[in-house]
């Protein structure tokens, strides 16, 4: 239990110390993020891969309102916790070639956000979950709005209000569940045990789903995302796409499915349809994007659409696929954005047509980029394949046509990703790219780590699958059982 508290609050402590660290903030934050990673790995090693919740903490917090500091880790949480603690150091390292103004604030906000994310991923109390949900949003808003690019104020305001709109309705749903709960608390187990009729579940479903759908984002709640990704600083984009959107996915798995299975039963179909539309739609839009960052943003929508579809398909393959893909997508998309950041920091543009021929002058970057692109297009042997394969299989078990349309992602993904790769890296160098220098120092470290993860997870995904298997299975059984009692 101490471990979990330490895990959650170490980044917060780091944030405070970083904020006071002044010039050495970069180093301090790196130390704390790496320490968090180590701690997460220690926890992962001590974790027994069964369906139980471990390292549970249950402290009274606001007792009068039935709010407890109740957190714990099961396989599913551990996965996203690992992802978070893995990506944060990577993201911090990736910022080493930037000279941000007021770095102390910048790194402190990242670490603060990490605490929020960890709260979201470990909370077993709905209120705590909500607190973490918002606590993660504030820092990223500031990160994006202070250090962002053109038009950042308007774009981030939209992002902020859009996402918080969803979460407020979720709060309404949480309050509703709380009131329905005879014990009058926010305990997740008590929520699981609620017996709501299908109309009630329908409402709660929408209250939660919209919040999650906006966060992921699922079509048609996605329009904040490309702008925000484009305008955010590179590290902000990585945080948003790498970790933050997993909050939505995790929310669906942890809160939506088990609490309102009948709602999912009634409305999940629509969710799948939206997700699948999103896959094709976003992929198609990605075809003709001129800005590489925007292209990756749309590709992210497509990928997340598949994850969402896989989850709502509600079977072991889809769910496990979602698990793997959460991890993979986090790693891959961070890699992609980092490469684009490297390019941007060198030539000050991410416009696809202005680039070209970088492979010739920066072969190491081109190889790393290629591996990441391949991971993104789900080439077998990369992490992306495991996820997409399982997800597609999950969707397939739901419906063959759904899978056939969702599967278009593997074609479309190849089209736009390779188009981007070709136009950015291949061809002749131009006046802009001729002076391009290859990656070095922390850039190498970060990119090679990402590439290694892509391949290792692709070749040997078993640890991940093993980690989540029992929890996922337990979840499915739980939900199915509950669904049977409702019907």
């Amino acid at each position: 239990m101490e471990q979990l508290l330490l895990l959650i609050f170490l980044p917060l402590a780091g944030a405070i110390i970083t904020a006071l660290a002044g010039k050495s903030a970069k180093i301090v934050s790196t130390v704390f993020s790496v320490a968090s990673l180590v701690l997460a790995l220690v926890i992962a090693c001590n974790f027994i891969p069964d369906a139980s919740t471990q390292f549970e903490v249950n402290l009274p917090w606001i007792a009068d309102l039935g709010i407890n500091f109740h957190a714990g880790i099961d396989g599913i949480s551990l996965l996203v916790v690992l992802l978070t603690n893995l990506l944060v150091p990577i993201i911090i390292l990736s910022s080493y070639n930037h000279q941000y103004k007021s770095p102390a604030a910048f790194y402190a906000l990242i670490l603060f956000m990490q605490t929020g994310l960890l709260l979201v991923f470990t909370a077993l109390d709905a209120f705590l979950f909500y607190i973490g949900w918002e606590a993660a949003l504030i820092p990223i808003y500031f990160i994006c709005a202070i250090w962002g690019g053109k038009d950042r104020i308007r774009i981030n305001m939209k992002f902020f209000v859009y996402t918080i709109a969803g979460s407020l309705f979720m709060l309404m749903g949480i309050i509703y569940l709380y009131l329905q709960n005879p014990a009058h608390n926010f305990n997740i187990q008590a929520f699981y045990a609620l017996n709501l009729d299908s109309a009630q579940q329908g409402w709660v479903f929408w209250a939660f789903f919209i919040a999650f759908a906006i966060k992921m984002p699922v079509f048609p709640f996605h329009t904040w995302q490309p702008d925000t990704y484009t305008a955010a600083p590179a590290q902000g984009t990585m945080l948003l796409s790498g970790i933050m959107l997993k909050m939505g996915i995790y929310g669906v798995i942890r809160w939506l499915l088990p609490i309102v299975p009948a709602g999912v039963h009634d409305w999940g179909q629509l969710a799948i349809v939206l997700s699948i539309i999103g896959i094709v739609y976003a992929s198609l839009i990605a075809f003709t994007q001129k800005d590489a960052k925007r292209l990756v943003a749309y590709s992210s929508i497509a990928h997340v659409g598949l994850i969402s579809a896989g989850i709502f398909a509600f079977n072991q393959q889809g769910m496990q696929g979602a698990m793997v893909q959460m991890l993979s997508h986090g790693i891959n998309v961070v890699g992609l954005f980092f490469v684009l950041d490297i390019i941007f920091s060198r030539v000050k543009t991410n416009k696809i047509e202005e680039l070209g021929g970088i492979a010739k002058v920066a072969p190491q970057l081109s190889i790393a980029f290629l591996i990441i692109v391949l991971g993104t297009v789900a080439l077998p042997g990369t992490n992306g394949f495991i996820g997409e394969f399982l997800l597609l299989m999950g969707v397939y078990n739901y419906g063959i046509w759904a899978a056939a349309i969702a599967g278009l992602t593997i074609i479309f993904g190849a089209v736009y990703m390779l188009r981007m790769y070709q136009n950015v890296m291949l061809g002749q160098t131009n006046s802009l790219t001729i002076t391009f220098t290859d990656i070095k120092g922390t850039e190498k470290l970060v990119l090679y780590t990402i590439c290694a993860l892509i391949i290792v997870l692709g070749v040997y995904p078993k640890p991940v699958l093993h980690l989540t298997e029992a929890s996922v299975q337990h979840l499915l059984e739980q939900v199915n059982q509950k669904l049977n009692t409702v019907n």
Partner: protein, 631 residues
């Protein structure tokens, strides 16, 4: 050493080669790279031979080797395991054997290239994936190889990536393969759903229990996958473009090995396909159509590699025709012989190109026979083999397919013979244009043309020998053979269909096809040697059919028009109209209207106390009315 102990070395060695060459591509000397690159393949070949022979002497024809559990989720368990049986064993030999020859050839061919190390790394990686493809004991491991070779194909086609046309060709190949891959993947899903497993060993025994409808669906989906990989209609257009890669790549990937993966996969799954007659018809028709269309296109091409590329497509169509009519062994036999003679032809073409300093247009060649005697001779053997003239290997394999086709449907047979005729014609056309007549380039260039070094000619010679005698491995009964290959493959569960034709029918069928080839040869001879005709430039007027053929039936343009352009237009429409105007418009519109409401409502606050009091009184009246008279 048992098979189980050896087999993992076969793919591992090329992989090690890839790693070493990949990491040391800039530091290792070219010689060392060549030795490592070729050496690992040779070692694999040797091990494959050992495996092959120990399998021959083994009563147990199929060995499964589990490496580790790869993916498992719910009922789905996918081990990373290898299956060694006669089918994969013989594929191993082809891949590593021909692979080695081509590696050897490349050490010389690519010697001047800056990316020498990278090239060998890619080639080794390709061999690794190809081995994975054939060794996989289930569809998913097969799929790793399947996509992996696609990746290598992408990398190698775009090897000279600074040329963006080449890079585009690479992308096209990858994407078109991906279209097929989706079909393949869906097929695999359906297999899993139907049979509860994706292991060959578990699926095939249950095949008969599946309903025909589902089997048809499964097989059609798998066939779509094969179409992509093996360049069948309508997905074949990537293969000719793939000639952008270095010539050894064309030989290895786009002729001998990768493109035959589709046939291998269908042969592997023949149990399923055999139970789906509808699919078989479709396969036969598409195969025949591809064979014919590609052959027609090949007639007018002027690029020596393009001719061979279309010829490859055409021959692949042949193989699919064979698969469609149930001649699994025949098709696979053709895979083997085709691997020999097409690799040979490509390498020969490479030798020519090498000699011509990367000139590929046949209109600028001619009279090279004397300059390149070995190349000419070996290529001639290859040409004769592909033309189907006895007793070279192509004759036997082609005739087995044709015989089965005749048994199935005389029309298919007719198309087959017509294709054979066209094949013979364009192949000899190519030979004559290249090697006979007078040199059509400048004198200065001519003086630089010389025969390739031994590292290049040796593989040619070896392949020529194989192309000449390769037919022996499945000598049909009609020639007193024992159909060794058929027996061998039956050990791998490949479905066998005996010909029920009388020997006399078989003889007459052979006679027809041989006659067609001979007539084509003579016609080509009169036209290009006697008439010394040279193909005209693009602008010159042609007949409608010639134009159609020269422009590849405008397929690329059609695809561009009906797929690429609409998708791009749709993309822009979605982005500009739906996304930015409509969906985001609604979101922004909410904000905007709130803002407008704010602008309007704040005017209520007019600053005038009288007005305020008015509003208050109205409020009071309204509230009282509401309270007492409404509710």
């Amino acid at each position: 050493m048992t098979i189980e102990q050896l087999i993992w070395l076969v793919p591992l060695l090329p992989f090690l080669g890839f790693v070493i060459n990949g990491l040391g591509r800039n530091s290792l000397s070219k010689g060392l790279v060549g030795i490592i690159g070729s050496g690992v393949i040779l070692a694999s070949f040797v091990i494959s031979l050992v495996i092959f022979f120990s399998l021959q002497g083994d009563t147990q024809k199929s060995h499964e080797v589990l490496l580790f559990d790869w993916i498992s989720a719910g009922a789905l368990h996918i081990p990373l395991s290898f299956l060694v049986d006669p089918l994969s064993a013989i594929m191993l030999l082809i891949i590593t054997g021909i692979g080695f020859l081509i590696h050897l050839y490349s050490t010389s061919y690519m010697h001047g290239d800056a990316g020498f190390g990278k090239f060998f790394a890619y080639l080794n990686l390709f061999v690794f994936f190809m081995l994975l493809l054939v060794l996989g004991s289930n569809y998913i491991v097969m799929f790793i190889g399947w996509e992996g070779v696609g990746l290598c194909s992408y990398l190698l086609i775009g090897f000279w990536y600074t040329n963006s046309a080449y890079a585009s060709a690479a992308k096209k190949a990858f994407v078109m393969n991906r279209i097929g891959d989706l079909g393949f993947l869906l097929g695999v899903f359906l297999i899993f759903n139907t049979f509860g497993s994706v292991e060959f060993a578990k699926v095939f025994p249950q095949a008969a229990s599946g309903s025909t409808d589902i089997l048809v669906l499964i097989t059609i989906l798998l066939f779509i996958g094969a179409c992509g990989k093996s360049a069948q209609l309508p997905l074949f257009t990537w293969l000719p473009d793939a000639m952008a890669g270095p010539t050894p790549v064309s030989a290895l990937i786009h002729a001998a090995t990768m493109v035959t993966a589709g046939i291998y996969m269908i042969a592997r799954s023949s149990v399923l396909f055999d139970l789906a007659p509808l699919t078989q018809h479709i396969i036969a028709i598409i195969g025949a159509a591809t064979a014919l269309v590609a052959a027609i296109i090949a007639l007018t091409q002027t690029d020596i590699k393009k001719v061979l590329a279309y010829s490859t497509v055409s021959q692949l169509g042949y193989m699919f025709l064979g698969l469609g009519v149930g001649a699994y062994t025949g098709s696979f036999f053709h895979v083997l012989t085709h691997a020999f003679f097409k690799a040979l032809l490509f390498l020969g073409a490479g030798s020519v190109i090498h000699a011509m300093h990367h000139e590929q247009d046949m209109r600028h060649m001619g009279g090279l026979r004397k300059k390149l005697p070995v190349t000419f001779l070996t290529m001639m053997i290859g040409t004769i083999a592909i033309a189907g003239l006895p007793p070279f290997s192509g004759f036997f394999s082609k005739d087995e397919i044709l015989a089965h086709a005749f048994q199935a449907s005389p029309i298919l047979w007719g198309i087959g013979v017509l294709t054979a005729f066209l094949t013979a014609f364009y192949m000899f056309r190519m030979m004559f244009l290249t090697f006979s007549g007078k040199y059509r380039g400048t004198h200065h260039e001519e003086s630089h043309v010389h025969e390739s070094p031994a590292a290049m000619t040796l593989p040619l010679i070896i392949l020529a020998v194989l192309a000449a005698i390769g037919g022996a491995i499945n000598l049909p009964h009609v020639f007193g053979g024992n159909e060794w290959l058929a027996h061998w493959l039956s050990g791998a569960g490949v479905a066998q269909h005996e010909l029920e034709l009388s020997y006399s029918t078989e003889y007459s069928l052979m006679a027809v096809s041989v006659a067609a080839a001979v007539i084509a040869l003579l016609y080509a001879y009169t036209r290009y040697v006697k008439g010394a005709r040279v193909p005209v430039a693009d602008e010159a007027p042609r007949s409608a059919l010639a134009k159609l053929s020269y422009n590849k039936f405008y397929l690329d343009e059609i695809y561009d028009f009906i797929i690429t352009k609409p998708l791009d237009a749709l993309s822009r429409f979605f982005y500009r109209i739906i996304d930015n105007k409509f969906i985001d418009g609604i979101v922004n519109g909410l904000g905007w209207s709130t803002n407008e409401a704010s602008k309007g409502i704040r005017l209520l606050q007019s600053g005038n106390v009288g007005f305020y009091i008015f509003m208050m009184v109205f409020g009071i009246i309204a509230l009282l009315l509401y309270t007492f008279f409404y509710i």
